[in-house]
Symmetry: C2
Amino acid sequence: MLTRNEIQQRVTRLQERLAANGAQAALLLVPIDIYYFTGTRQNSALWIPASGEPMLLVRKSLVRARAEGLISDIRPFPSSKELTALFGSEGDRVGMTYDAVPVAQHGWYSKVLPGRSFVDITMLVRDLRSVKLPAEIEMLRYSAEKLCSIFSEVPTFLKAGMRELDLAAEMEYRLRRIGHEGYVRMRAFNQELFGGMAVAGGAANYGFFDGAVTGQGLSSASPQGASLDVIGENQPVLVDFAGVFNGYIVDMTRMFVIGTLDSELQRAFDVSLEIQEAVRKAMVPGAICEEIYRQAAEMAENAGLGGNFMGMPGEQSRFVGHGVGLELDELPVLAQGFAMPLQAGQVVAVEPKFVIPGKGAIGIENTFLVTEHGGERLTELSDEIVRI
Amino acid sequence: MLTRNEIQQRVTRLQERLAANGAQAALLLVPIDIYYFTGTRQNSALWIPASGEPMLLVRKSLVRARAEGLISDIRPFPSSKELTALFGSEGDRVGMTYDAVPVAQHGWYSKVLPGRSFVDITMLVRDLRSVKLPAEIEMLRYSAEKLCSIFSEVPTFLKAGMRELDLAAEMEYRLRRIGHEGYVRMRAFNQELFGGMAVAGGAANYGFFDGAVTGQGLSSASPQGASLDVIGENQPVLVDFAGVFNGYIVDMTRMFVIGTLDSELQRAFDVSLEIQEAVRKAMVPGAICEEIYRQAAEMAENAGLGGNFMGMPGEQSRFVGHGVGLELDELPVLAQGFAMPLQAGQVVAVEPKFVIPGKGAIGIENTFLVTEHGGERLTELSDEIVRI
């Protein structure tokens, strides 16, 4: 359970980094960042000075913020004049997460807080949040257990002749009934997701979504996830869902088939398990993210599947794993261009997948905790293709 | 169906407004704005000059953008150097939607496009998008019909002893099966929503959500919507859901009760119907948004329910209706502070509601089209409380 003590640790870690970066304070506006440092996600602004007590100013709901919040100083959002006096003083360097704060918000605070210079602390906050503290790991284990329990029920409802949409709806319904909170937060500006996807067979799989498999979706306005295509026999059925419990997201994928799979797909699946195991072993503190990705891509290449790894040929994503937590797209990313080392306590969804045009998408995904002994699996459920 | 001709109309309307505002171009980055002006929602940037052809630069998926897009010039996203040459020239004023574009995006384009000055065109774009063209109205009618069909099924599954969460899950499941796209887009920076809510009885109803009824949600991380509370007899059961089809969102609320409602709640409901009808009649082109709100608030006040109108006492929202379309929170807003006149073709969800502490939330919501004859109801289903 989230305690005042863990919140205090999170705040202290941020304060140390602000001081080390020469910033006098952080002004946090993104709701889930505010939740992380206070325990309450209301419509509010959070001021964390490099030394001293954080202060949460609440537009709505003050009653709820006070009931849930695990910091002491929670107040109503003041007039802009009062704000000027509350939030630091002229000459201060104030950190803000530029990746997600809109221009209009930045502009308003720049006006209200004259003489302060704003600096981007996106990576500082995201890096800090990527290392999970005890309450978070406990919650991620709980989310994993819940999500696995629904994946294990798939054989009871997957049938030939149902649409991808029907399969997705069955997953969503069952997840929801056991407490899945529904809204899956993503941080990247142009990404969005409705829970997950169920994709069968070999329909073209092009889309905006930053993943190996995007799905066709239901329209050009919502071009991602399950479609109206009917699930047939002997097709790879890829089920990739996130579960959100207490705000914490775990992500996993399993393969199903009604009948049997052709040998090319089966072989690609076997390679995805080999890559997963190599990545898992490599997930120790200090390992370099992009080197893990390169090793995975090389294994795909050596298996003759380089052109199918992590996406449609021509639209391949260059990653093999992504951090999860309060958002689906947290740090670290096991990707080309991410040269940072892994840290103990980071939690990563590893998802080696292949897309074989005309045949379908196949692969595996599990969520792992980075430890000294390699990745510790949180999603404990057999990886094997389930034959129905 | 969306056609090249309607897309062309949309682009032309934007170009006229850019020219009238002395801007040489718009650089649109928000995915749903891009969809509105192109017919495709991929990861991309859209350049619309005040005169000339729009140009869509696509990161992912170019294949899909080209297959769906209803403009001619769709290209791969170029290097930043090429971009400088493509997007206008020094001295240009370039419009951007500051309400939703992150600081980091704005900063990157500022660097890549030296000598251009950026201006905020949020209200210009949102106002333009608020007036629905024929294909949009057709799609909104379709969404309304679909959403009503599921609301009419509620008596078949609402039972005493189920949790709010179970009721929400039944709604979500049925909506999904008939093609609800799931992800409900909201524009406001700090808002988020998972489809809707089912709220029963008199539990305290405090939350960040900008609505009359917020629901308790499942945790402090997702503090909105259905909770684990059990639905009992003789309680007001408020079901408020959005349906998304072809990207277009319609919003409605109906009341249910297993048994009978106490007379105070029944009276508040009757007042909500009177307010809805007064608002509907007032919804003609030229009517001033905040005056409609004031009339509604006055009717609540005169009924002795001023302190319960649109939220918990002390946390009341000061609106009675909100635009819907591709986002749940479009213009116009029938709210204090919105002095603009209504325009024919705008579509507004009108939702007079009351919260009676200890007893529960009650009210009505329908989506209306603004016409010369007042609001034309899109959500055609009886308003009456359904007794089970």
